[in-house]
Amino acid sequence: MTRQTSGALGIFSDLQQTVEAIHELPKRGFPNFIVQSPIPDHELLEAIASKKSPVRRWTLAGGILGCLSGFALTIGTSLDWPMQTSAKPIVSLPPFIVIAFELTILFGAIATLAGFLFHSRLPRFSSDVVYDPRFSEGHFGIFIECDASRATLATRTLEELGAGEVRCE
């Protein structure tokens, strides 16, 4: 996400044209741009990203931490006050597995949330984000960040690629 907001914002009304524009822009000398969409369309996302989201690593780390925490909590507290109950061992793994499982899921979910927020740069309340309210409705946006010297070229390129409207920010 960019703080500096000078560039050209193209507003597209067709998904297919947007996807084609995403493929075409690097060839026209604009490899860096931000796409905005009302839906997570598969083709669109594949056109943008070459690698998978790193959120999965957060999920894995959270899950492992949760599992270890669950066993640490249950085993640690059992050994801290080793109360004998019937013929059961002090460290009774079957019931402890239940606690460890729940904490695996809990920590995994919280870590996934944290990873999502971190990588998506949320929450973000600043007003310098280039946006049009139509992007949550039915339109798609491609914002090419560039200085004034390339703005005309960027505008023309976006129009050629099918943008119904181009705004210079």
């Binding site: 996400m1 297919q16 899950g63 996934t112 949550s136």
Partner: protein
């Protein structure tokens, strides 16, 4: 735009709809409400206040105001707890498990079902506090270091419950919120001023639907669904083990985990129908929530009903086959003893009436479906009552057999808990999109989509 007076057949559900129209139709549901809504809200709040008053009487006076007897040590409060946790499971099934199975029909009902899950878990979470009596000691359930060196008993299913239900609430709430995020952004973009503008702006957290955000969103949504799926199975298994880990005849059975999970999904689907059928009608969402969706729900209800029926039969058969005197007697009492009438009403509601769903005419008729859903809600509440109170009132020693009657306090708190649930659901339907805008748009086929240039 569809008029409310149009019949089901003439609704242009198969005609292409634009993205902008989806936004309009669904965001219209969060427009400021009319008198009928406020009246309903007022009634619900009144009942809730009465339930809260009854709880205050119990806190001041003690658990003696509840109808507990010598042997029936768990009653209506635990019945309510299990009932509400069970209802929550169906929402996660629809939103998470059906997402993993790529069942496309889930989109129309997933949001309402997820909301039902979160509010049902919130309602369920009240009851471990209510049934404590000395509710101010609730923190003893948490493992915190203290000067007495005491820890909670991790071998007890009651503590597993604390972890399971807390985890379930947290994960469901996160899943619900993340799913809502793009829709909240859509609501934010429609409101320029007033408290709603601030409300949606804060909740949207600055979501702008950039490609990067969607990539991380899709990935995290998939992982939430994948984490929630084993959670659904585990939580109600853990709740069922509150009973199965005890030695009480009628409780101590290995079938309890799958029995309760299937029963939970069954009861939750019933509640989904009870909620979604009126919401669809009152909010004019016939275009998005179609008869096909209800048919799919009806099929799942029929399937889970048959699993529950199987579990009933197996329980009785196992008791007989075991030759165990106490086990046989408990089940004889369940069918023919003092709890018998409730048992047979339960069988009628859970096993017999859902068989009507074998008929397509009934599966596709909303009046029938709504009526059947009410019977399911009643039947599943009674199932937990029959299992908990029925078994406890007729344990090993005849001198300890008692009959249990709920008192006004327990009935009031039960009604109050229903009011609590409906209060949250009422607030939800008028402040957040009740159908997932983003997922509906995703489901619109590209070839049929016309894009409308938005006017002011």
């Amino acid at each position: 735009m569809d008029e409310q007076s149009m019949s089901e057949k003439s609704l242009p559900q198969d005609q292409p709809v634009t993205y902008a129209q989806v936004n309009r139709d669904i965001l219209r549901t969060i427009a400021p409400p009319g008198k009928a809504y406020y009246l309903t809200l007022a009634v619900v709040i009144l009942v809730l206040c009465w339930g809260a008053y009854a709880w205050s009487v119990q806190i001041r006076t003690g658990l003696g105001v509840a109808g507990y007897t010598l042997s029936v040590r768990w009653a209506v409060y635990i019945v309510n707890f299990v009932f509400w946790v069970g209802i929550a499971h169906s929402g996660t099934l629809i939103s998470a498990i059906l997402f993993l199975f790529r069942a496309r029909w889930r989109t129309a009902v997933a949001r309402g079902a997820e909301a039902m899950t979160v509010f049902a878990v919130m309602t369920a979470g009240l009851f471990p506090l209510i049934h404590l009596g000395r509710v101010w000691n609730f923190y003893w359930l948490m493992p915190y270091p203290n000067q007495r060196g005491l820890w909670v008993n991790f071998r007890s299913p009651l503590i597993w419950d604390v972890f399971a239900v807390s985890t379930y609430f947290t994960v469901s709430a996160i899943f619900f919120y993340i799913g809502l995020l793009p829709d909240i952004a859509a609501a934010r973009d429609r409101h320029d001023c007033g408290w709603r503008s601030v409300f949606y702006r804060i909740l949207a957290m600055g979501w702008h639907g950039t490609g990067r955000q969607w990539i991380h969103y899709s990935s995290s949504y998939l992982f939430f669904a994948a984490l929630a799926t084993p959670l659904v199975i585990s939580v109600h298994s853990v709740v069922s083990w509150d009973f199965a880990m005890a030695l009480v005849p009628g409780w101590h059975s290995t079938i309890f985990a799958p029995y309760f999970v299937a029963g939970a999904i069954f009861s939750g689907l019933g509640m989904v129908l009870t909620l979604i059928i009126p919401v669809r009608k009152l909010m004019r969402l016939e275009r998005y929530i179609t008869i096909k969706h209800f048919e799919a729900l009806a099929k799942m209800i029929l399937f889970t009903s048959m699993i529950v029926t199987y579990a009933y039969v197996v329980e009785f058969w196992t008791a007989w086959y075991s030759g165990n005197m106490f086990e046989k007697d408990t089940f004889w009492n369940r069918a023919f003893g003092h709890i018998g009438p409730l048992f047979w009403v339960m069988v009628l509601c859970n096993s017999a009436i859902p068989l009507l769903l074998f008929f397509k005419k009934i599966c596709t008729h909303l009046g029938w479906l709504f009526a059947i859903s009410i019977f399911i809600n009643i039947g599943m509440w009674l199932e937990r009552f029959v299992i908990i109170v029925g078994s406890l009132s007729h344990e090993f020693e005849p001198w300890a057999w008692t009959t249990y009657r709920p008192t006004w306090v327990e009935i009031s708190i039960t009604l109050g808990s229903f009011a609590w649930f409906f209060l949250w659901f009422l607030l939800f339907v008028k402040h957040l999109p009740v159908v997932s805008i983003t997922e509906i748009k995703e489901a619109i086929p590209r070839t049929a989509r016309e894009v409308e240039v938005a006017t002011a």
